[in-house]
């Protein structure tokens, strides 16, 4: 069974370590905040100028001056800090953010990522994505393995305009967990009930399968 968006987020949350500073992109990545293990402490960075992003406010307590990078109303937590956009991207480029999670339309077997533009159809802009992928030590991509037509989104080379080159380290899709290595995608885990054959069939890029591939547990 393919994973739900929530399960993709839950699996990614297992990569968090105590004390991590983390940036979560819009879409599935924001759900990772709901699955942070209770026994560790992470600090969420919102690139519009906040360290220590808290949950959504209770109804009636929304503050128009307190939003996240997706323009949603949020709260702060003890230890939060506000700063300007240059400092925000400064700490990102300086490698201070331990883990970045974002979505993708396509990822290549060399770790290139395309997630900002579909020429002629969607040209909304890259926002902070190019800064994040060019600077982050650890990039985890949350994505569907195939598009609505069933075509693979894990490709030998991206066909869409790139957000960054050779930067993705790990992918959690709806059917697999993969690392990006020197020699292509390496299969690490499969979704419950999903076979290695299905993953091979749905991965157009080079896929390395070594030994027994465990199922993800939920």
């Amino acid at each position: 069974m393919a994973l739900t968006k929530e399960q993709i987020a839950e699996r990614i949350a297992r990569e968090l370590k105590d004390g991590y500073y983390v940036n979560l992109g819009i879409g599935i990545p924001t759900l990772v905040a709901n699955y942070i293990p209770k026994d560790i402490h992470v600090v969420l960075q919102s690139e519009n100028g906040l360290l220590g992003m808290g949950p959504f406010p209770f109804e009636g307590e929304e503050d128009p001056d307190l939003i996240n990078a997706g323009k949603q109303t949020i709260t702060t937590v003890p230890g939060s800090a506000f700063f300007d956009s240059a400092l925000s991207f400064g700490m990102i480029r300086a490698g201070k953010v331990d883990l970045t999670v974002l979505g993708a339309m396509e990822v290549s077997e060399e770790g290139d990522i395309a997630n900002w533009k579909i020429p002629g159809k969607m040209v909304k802009g890259m926002g902070g994505a190019m800064d994040l992928v060019a600077s982050a030590k650890n990039i985890v991509v949350a994505m569907m393995h195939t598009n609505p037509k069933g075509e693979s989104k894990l490709l030998p080379k991206c066909t869409l305009p790139l957000t960054g080159v050779k930067c993705v380290k790990m992918i959690v899709s709806d059917i697999a967990v993969l690392n990006v290595t020197q020699n292509g995608f390496k299969l690490i885990e499969r979704a419950p009930g999903v076979s290695v054959e299905e993953i091979k069939a749905k991965t157009a890029g080079k896929l390395i399968v070594e030994g027994e591939i465990p199922e993800m547990k939920f």
Binding site: P55, I67, K71, M126, A134, V165
Partner: protein
Amino acid sequence: MNKIVSGADEAIRDIPDGALLALGGFGLCGIPENCIAALVRKGVKQLTCISNNAGVDDFGIGLMLKQRQVKKMISSYVGENAEFERQLLSGELEVELIPQGTLATRCMAAGYGMPAIFTPAGVGTEVAEGKEVRNFNGKDYLMEYAFTPDFSIVKAWKGDDHGNLIYHETARNFNPLVAMAGKITIAEVEELVPAGELDPNNIHTPGIYVHRIFQGSSYEKRIEQRTVRKRKKE
């Protein structure tokens, strides 16, 4: 010190057609609402606007787009504005999309007296076209030039008659960088106080960067995505 003006109309009085403007704000958060309304009233046109976003159809810079006052936008994300998309696709509006960090830092560079900066954002993508690439310590960086807008327009929480500014929460965002970059910087503030009332330890933008300041009024502070969580039942 003679920086205080009576309001937005006086603050923007000499902005000409064809000017290069930079505006603070992220989405609708921390935008200079009063000055945008004044620019719409003044009808100044053929503007090039450096601003992270383009507002929504009926608020923020969207109001200027509706009146066809903008020739070109330099932004990082313009997704929330259908009128913008229409003008973009029809060719009425020129758009340059640049990484958010690059936009912030190019404004900052001008305020720090640096003609250019190096950033890895966009290396290997279409953003890199036509730009110089240099390698430092084994990593490629694009050279990006400082922005030097004719006028910078910012929104702050508190300011004094020396032009010192303090911002509020995430309404800070691009405002401090935009404030540093302008040849003329205009600040609208929620609370204008006499010099001496703001603690010098807490100043975010020193007044040397600010040329005109006024007490703003009637802030709508629209929320783009009102998101809440449920209280647990007792």
